[in-house]
Amino acid sequence: MDLSQALATFLDESRDLLAQMEEILLRAETSDLAPEDMHALFRCAHTIKGSAGLFGLDVVVRFTHGVENVLDRLRNGEIVFTDALINLLLESQDHIARLVHAVAASDALPEDEGGPLLERLQAFNNDFDGRAGDMVKACETERVEVDVASGIAIGAEHWHLSLRFGPDVLRNGMDPLAFINYLRSLGDIVHVETITDAVPELFAGDPEACHLGFEIALRSAAEKAEIEAVFEFVQDAATITIVPPCARIDAFIALIDALGEDPRRLGEILVACGSVTERELFQALADQHLATDPAPIGELLIERAAVQPRVVEAALGKQKSAEERRGGEGKSVKVPADRLDALIDQVGELVIAGAATQLHAQRTTNPDLQEVASNLLRLVEDVRDTALRLRMTPIGEVFNRFPRVVRDVSRELGKEIELVISGAEAELDKSMVERIGDPLMHLVRNAIDHGIEGPAQRLDASKPARGTLNLNAYHESGSIVIEVADDGKGLDAERIFAKAVERGLVAPDAQLSTAEIHRLILEPGFSTASEVTSLSGRGVGMDVVKSNVEALRGTLDISSEPGRGTTMRLCLPLTLAIIDGFQVGVSGSTFILPLDTVVECIELPSDAQGGGYLRLRDKVLPFVDLREMFGLEDEPCPARQNVVVVRFAGRQAGIAVDELLGECQTVIKPLGRLFERVAGIAGSTILGTGEVALILDVPQLVQRAITNEGRERSTAAQSSASIA
């Protein structure tokens, strides 16, 4: 049986459940949990334990079982959450995660480490053990051997089974024949005598009721408990007496004699030698416990052998616990990522083919064809949107790991920090979600470590002792913006500048704006921390964050105010595959702008030709001339040029082009290595005509236009210092 695929599912499932556990535990720190949360928490551990058992991961089962017990007592209200308990449970959750991780990496399971944790968990289970102990103490030890020896009927050389199935077994879906059939797996059935005395006359009785009894002789080396287990599902509805072969009884007596000096209780002795099963002992104990005048346990056990076993579980008066329900859980299907990628690729080809169809249809004068073609195109667009949405996951998946990080790191540093998360439902491409985690983690750690001050320092600055860290995500013009904002001390521009000079990143006499100085922290080899702490001083600088973000076609923006805090703004495209584009023509070539970034189109005023800036409704709008930027002079400049106003990350700029060609579907194809570093170009696409068009990199162009404006275009070469 190949379990590897099931194991992969188990690993996935466990990680989800562990994340859910963590989230609930962290919530328990600040507020009281609703009963559903308690149940959910229990269920997380329970499900992991259950599945782990299937894979024979005994270490995981054993440890999770300890956690589960505590969670069970919690949800039953037997114990309550304390800080210590939450800490312990979080540590336990970590340990389970480690174990699961070890399974995934097929390492040896780190068993020893779980021991101390289990012991601490056990402390919360003590009452439970106490109860069990009392139960055992209730046993009477007198007259062991005699009772047992004389009480049990002696059979022949075979086990003798006397079965009287109750009238309801058939109605319960139990087939007596199936059990007897299964009995054969334990040994040979030497003889079956069917007892039909109870069968009523034809038509007189209930045809659905079972009236049969069986007397069975079984030759088997099995233990009594094993034989009894065959009938576990009917033990309540049937009368089953199992008489051992006589040789066995002799063996029992010998065994009990041998155990004579043992201080163990009778019940345990009987179970130990196999003459009584645990179930029989439990029932007898429960009866004895309830009786006003308790009989010695031996007598009770002998009585058991003759009297129909009663259902005693109910009498134990277990506290009624309401059945938990958890609705509203969205149904989902797990699909391998490569299949999704293949789908997206195919949809991309479909989009291109659709555009070609539309183009050719428009060239004909056949109205039917044109209508069908435009219908087709609309459907293709729908398919494209749906296919892309398949890859969308809420950013919350990434955010979820931060409450724990913030909690742990701030405790370690002795800072008080509140994490406020908003916009967790904003969605972005799954591949982005996976790759944005590390850069975000770095920004968050940085904010806690360098940004937010200690409580004393904050009080001195007349700020509340508890710092706030905001994690926020929202959609803006085809991008997702993720903000990491702290209310700490802000960036120290002077110190950054001094450091940059010291590291040789800038000339000592360079004239830089504050924003440009802030950007210096993104340069390779820059570290602002005067002393390296264990948290952020790990040799990974902000430059790695920056390059990670750039690899995703995103931008990183810094705004900081001394004493008020720092905001790091990550701006990422929503998808890496297909976009709505806006086609423009320059000197016979076609370029594409992502439609989401386009604000409006205007005519280029004649006095503004040649690039720089123009006046748009009494505001200055910097712009770049593509003709000039890309050196496209094949065709003469038309009499009228247009400007497309684009917006990115809250800033606007113009892009001067020759003609406006309208909207189109654009499948983004990556550029080859050779063209990767061409400024202003983000990718390429294939038009309906089969021509190749370049996709403009709007963030870069906006940055360039603004830089040009600020420097009067004199230092345009410096644009390499900008991050796009």
Binding site: L3, A6, T9, G50, F55, G173, D175, F233, K320
Partner: protein, 121 residues
């Protein structure tokens, strides 16, 4: 003719393992993620045995068994509930609903096979 077993559990991995081991023993298996899903997948077709978890989203096992037992086609269909150790109360509820057999989690695939073969010949 091979016998059909319905397994209802919200853990996909558990379903996969049970399903694999039952199929290996020659049973046909239908999988469902919760009670509601299971009712939809049953739709009157013949099954010889139902294995159901208790604790599931959307529709729990007890409600599911109660519902399924209302259908005359499944009156005599045996039901195995998957349970925890601390659920005497649920056991009673399950019995009222019509489930008589229990397998305690965590279990080994062989244990499940044994339980199934006690009920289905």
């Amino acid at each position: 003719m091979s016998k059909t077993v319905l397994i209802v559990d919200d853990s996909a991995s558990l379903r996969q393992v049970v399903s694999l081991s039952l199929k290996g023993a020659g049973y046909d298996v239908i999988e469902a993620a919760d009670g509601r899903d299971a009712l939809g997948k049953l739709g009157g077709q013949k099954v010889h045995l139902i294995i159901s978890d208790v604790n599931m989203p959307n529709m729990d096992g007890i409600t599911f068994v109660r519902e399924v037992k209302k259908n005359p086609s499944y009156r005599f269909t045996p039901v195995i509930m998957l349970t925890t150790e601390a659920t005497e109360e649920k056991k009673r509820l399950g019995q009222e609903a019509g489930a008589r057999a229990w397998v305690v989690k965590p279990f080994q695939p062989q244990q499940m096979l044994a339980a199934v073969s006690k009920l289905v010949m």
